[in-house]
């Protein structure tokens, strides 16, 4: 019928415009980066079989900078002091064995700078973490140890705090680089909240050290899941240099499971309405389907015998 032809023309031109403005233009603006599934193909496989007991002995050296809560080893310094020395607060290592790729971790322990892809930033100054494993065997032993102490279940929140939280704030989740914002109450007479101000002062100092170390303040990730595509985020975390050449962000070395937990956290915080949206959508569409059918019946009854 004539009206269907007209509709086809309208739909055609609309789709052409949409294609040009969205998928096509965006493909021109953002080059395609291949996703490698967290295989870390540039790193040679480690064939040595790790001994967790030997690894435990070696791991004692880590306690100089890192806490390992799973092994009841506390942090040697508070986060702000640590950041003054190292630029950032060294992470707690309890989750390293579960969330990091084993091959990555072994290489990182042997040569942190190159494995983390930050050699371009540390040409004239030493990387805060020195190599901790001299050969493949000791690296494998350490990895085996970390695997043995890692908890079985990790929440998305814990994964984020371990992998990203020392550099990236998440204000919507009340997460700062030095920990969760404490619950405080202002003095109702002076209206000033001393505890909060103390915390903010510590955070300011930490951020200052972080900026000096990184060159730029790592962005708050509260809503990054809406600000970047899923494709961008996973290729970026897998290989920051591929998406943002020259960036100070290190390759963190997450394995697939680790990344999925981190991404889940990003979605929880950045797109909290997603479950509701997916629940309500089908009902609204179903409603309008029925509405259109009823409208069609009314329309047909009104126009019967008129043409």
């Amino acid at each position: 019928m004539k009206e269907l032809k007209i509709l086809a023309v309208v739909v055609f031109f609309t789709l052409v415009t949409y294609w040009g403005v969205e998928p096509y233009a965006h493909s021109v603006m953002h080059k395609h980066v291949e996703f490698k599934n967290f295989k870390y193909e540039d790193l040679k496989p480690i064939t040595a079989k790790g001994d967790p007991a030997k690894g435990q002995a070696l791991a004692a050296a880590c306690a100089g900078c890192h806490s390992i809560k799973a092994a009841k080893m506390p942090a040697p310094m508070d986060p702000v002091t640590a950041s003054a020395t190292y630029g950032v607060n060294p992470p707690d290592l309890s989750l390293a064995g579960k969330l990091l790729d084993a091959k990555y971790l072994a290489h990182f322990l042997k040569d942190p700078t190159h494995t983390a892809l930050v050699a371009h930033k540390f040409k004239n100054k030493p990387y805060p973490m020195p190599p901790m494993a001299t050969d493949d065997q000791s690296a494998a032993d350490l990895v085996a140890y970390f695997k043995s102490i890692a908890p079985k279940e990790v929440t998305p929140k814990e994964a984020y705090e371990f992998a990203c939280g020392r550099c990236h704030q998440m204000r919507y989740a009340k997460w700062t680089q030095i920990g969760e914002e404490p619950k405080t109450k202002p003095n109702i007479q002076t209206k000033m909240d001393e505890k909060k101000l103390e915390f903010e002062q510590k955070l300011a100092k930490y951020k200052d050290h972080l900026v000096k170390y990184m060159g730029k303040l790592p962005p708050d990730l509260s809503i990054i899941v809406r600000a970047r595509s899923e494709e961008f985020l996973k290729t970026f975390v897998e290989d920051p240099q591929a998406q943002l050449p020259g960036t100070a962000m290190p390759r963190v070395g997450l394995n697939k499971e680790g990344y999925e937990l981190v991404f889940k956290r990003l979605e929880e915080v950045g797109d909290p309405s997603k479950p509701k949206r997916e629940a309500v959508g089908p009902w609204v569409l179903a409603y309008f389907f029925v509405f259109t059918i009823l409208a069609y019946l009314w329309y047909k009854s009104q126009w019967k015998g008129l043409k």
Binding site: I188, F291, S301, Q302, K304
Partner: protein
Amino acid sequence: MSDRRDFFGKALGAFAGLGALGALYAAKRTWDPLPSVKAAGYTTIDLSQAQENVLYTEMWRGKPIFVLKVPKKDKKAYDDPRLIKVGGEKFFIAIGLCTHLGCIPAYYPDQYKFICACHGGQFNAAGEVLKAPPPSPLVIPPFKVEGKKVVLGETSPEYEKLKEAGLVS
């Protein structure tokens, strides 16, 4: 024939009304207090340093809260069953808004009473009405005693008992 047209028109109208109800429900939910507002509804008050007959004012859910370690000299108030026992002492804790029209009454320690500047209402040191126009005593909020601290906003058996006895307001 026009009946058929009318029927479909009415059916559509009714279905549209259903949709409007759905939209109204969503609108109602938009007006609801935010979760962060509801979560901020708990305040902890530390009573360990409280001095007798000195009025402390706290804030809870945006409202002023009177905290008074009731003086033993004021026998009538001290024996009032609506007082709250915290760490062996007796405290008067209530929302500091006059039950007449909501002004904040001032405490006069030498007279052991609250006097409201707006219309002259008076309450004793246990919040009972001494002089009109306030129609009822100062309201006791839900509370929970934890050692020498009190958490406002959380209920407890003691609060429930006072409530059932009609003593909270």
